[in-house]
Amino acid sequence: MIRAPHRFAPIQRLLHWLMALCIIAMLFIGVGMVSTVAPKYLPLILIHKTLGVALLILVLIRLALRLRLGAPPLPADLPPVMKLGAKLSHLLLYGFMIVMPLLGLGMLWAAAYPVVLFGGIEIPALLQQSDRGHTLLWNAHVYLGLAFFALVLLHLAAALFHALIRRDGVFATISPLPQRERMKPAE
């Protein structure tokens, strides 16, 4: 077996934080744009679509890196329930990152609405107009979007719990700051 790394690789850390910022922006822009009729609606939805598609590409790169580079192990003394919770929630976060942009695109395709991104880039439709399909994708995008935000909050709480209360080095595995490998070595 390969020796497990103590931290995520720099590129993984970079992607984690870049995408975290963008996804939080996407969630806020999403609920903000659907609740306004002001002129900012148009730039907001343009950013939402463009950034959403960019995130879809990024998550694929990130997953490929994850499969190649792996992840540092969780602390040995972390209770099994917490370990399971961490694994499951990370799996779910990856799931949301893949599914949300696909639902967004699908929703527009099923509405026969052209998907034009920043710079006039047009994404060809892969679905036909369908009332039922649109409704399903729209509801999924809205409700999973809210669930995604809830999960991000939970993830944030867990990260702070590790960093401030357990101080077990989990936060350091993904911390954006370069630092000496001085956390407690994991098993």
């Binding site: 903000g32 609740s35 509405a111 009332d131 909050l153 702070l160 209360i165």
Partner: protein, 350 residues
């Protein structure tokens, strides 16, 4: 480090900090979503104001609910390239999909009772790039801002007549529209109506020059004025009957005319027409060649969102297209989700 059995002081502080971070994040999210600002004008509130007391027209558009589909071509004469590099201005013929409609939330309205007539239009370039628009027959819009439109809908929905008086006092621009509605001649055909963009857009040509433009579809059929009382003697769907008959015998045509604003013209206010002497240009002809009932026609499932624009056309400082886009999206979401209530195959009208 082991999780201590009893929380230390610093841990308690950390817990409070964590709770505060979560609370603030959730509050910021709720604020963005408008959950803490009931006064914000949202697409939902606009739709609620459009909804008649009898309830929403399930499965139908939330406004301009009654309509009929058509297909045809846009024949560009090439003049338009001077103003915009939109591909459909290059000389040629481009396929068109559209919808004649009435400005009402009632899909079963009697044609003679609706003052505002409209057209939804989609012109496709050879590479599939789309230009969508939705235009109406008055020469200017009823109000200056989307907010005022919302207030108009609310006031018009109230029983007390003072509501409208108060609205007109606060929005004097509405007077001109009311006068138009009262005195402008009616016609007996969709084919005899002009359709105006009213909203302004910025055209960019190949050299990068920009102009703020409004446009109109001017009918080639000669308008024959007729009293509303005479229209009321006709059937409830005489407009649909008429356009079907006319198009069956010959394509019906409109000339597309662009009008360029001078500096200082009110580009942000569709309730104010620009002076008559502004530069006008004929850029092409719309030919309507085939009519189809909405329920099995190709226009039913299209959102004629006026911000679906080709390269070479973009929104101006006019606040309406953004407001319309957000509300039309919501209207589409709703009507698609209610498709089961739409009389798809049954007897069309009660």
């Amino acid at each position: 480090m082991k999780l201590p059995g009893r929380l230390e002081r610093s841990s308690l502080g950390s817990l409070i900090l964590i709770a505060a971070v979560l609370g603030c994040s959730a509050a910021a999210f709720a604020y963005s979503a408008g959950w803490l600002s009931p006064g914000r004008l949202t697409p939902d509130r606009m739709i609620a104001a459009l909804t008649p007391p009898s309830g929403p027209p399930l499965g139908h558009r939330r406004n301009h609910a009654k309509g009929i589909c058509f297909t045809g071509t846009f024949e560009a004469n090439g003049n338009g390239v001077e103003l915009s590099r939109a591909k459909v201005f290059a000389q040629g013929r481009y396929p068109v999909l559209g919808r004649f409609n009435l400005g009402t939330a009632d899909p079963n309205a009697v044609d003679a009772t609706v003052r505002v007539r409209g057209i939804g239009l989609q012109i496709s370039a050879a590479d599939g790039e789309e230009w969508r628009m939705a235009m109406i027959n008055p020469p200017f819009f009823a109000v200056s801002t989307p907010e005022a439109f919302h207030e108009l809908l609310v006031a018009a929905g109230k029983k007390e007549p003072e509501a409208m008086t108060a609205f007109t006092r606060a929005n004097p621009e509405f007077g001109a529209f009311a006068a138009w509605a009262k005195s402008a001649p009616w016609t007996a055909s969709y084919a005899e109506e002009p359709y105006n963009s009213l909203n302004s857009f910025v055209f960019t040509n190949a050299k990068g020059d920009e102009h703020t433009v409004r446009w109109s579809l001017v009918p080639t059929a000669v308008p024959v004025p007729i009293a509303q009382a005479d229209l009321q003697k006709r059937g409830p769907d005489f407009l649909e009957q008429d356009i079907t008959d006319r198009v069956r015998s010959a394509p019906q045509r409109w000339t597309m005319v662009t009008t360029v604003a001078d500096p200082g013209d009110p580009t942000a206010d569709p309730s104010r027409a620009w002076p008559e002497n502004r530069r006008k240009m004929q850029v092409g002809t719309l030919a309507v060649q085939r009519i189809e009932a909405e329920r099995d026609g190709p226009c039913r499932d299209i959102n004629f969102d006026p911000t679906v624009l080709p390269q070479g056309v973009r929104v101006s400082d006019d606040p309406f297209p953004a407001a319309r886009s957000s509300v039309y999206r919501k209207s589409y979401d709703l009507r698609a989700s209610e498709a089961g209530a739409y009389p798809r195959n049954g007897a069309a009208k009660p």
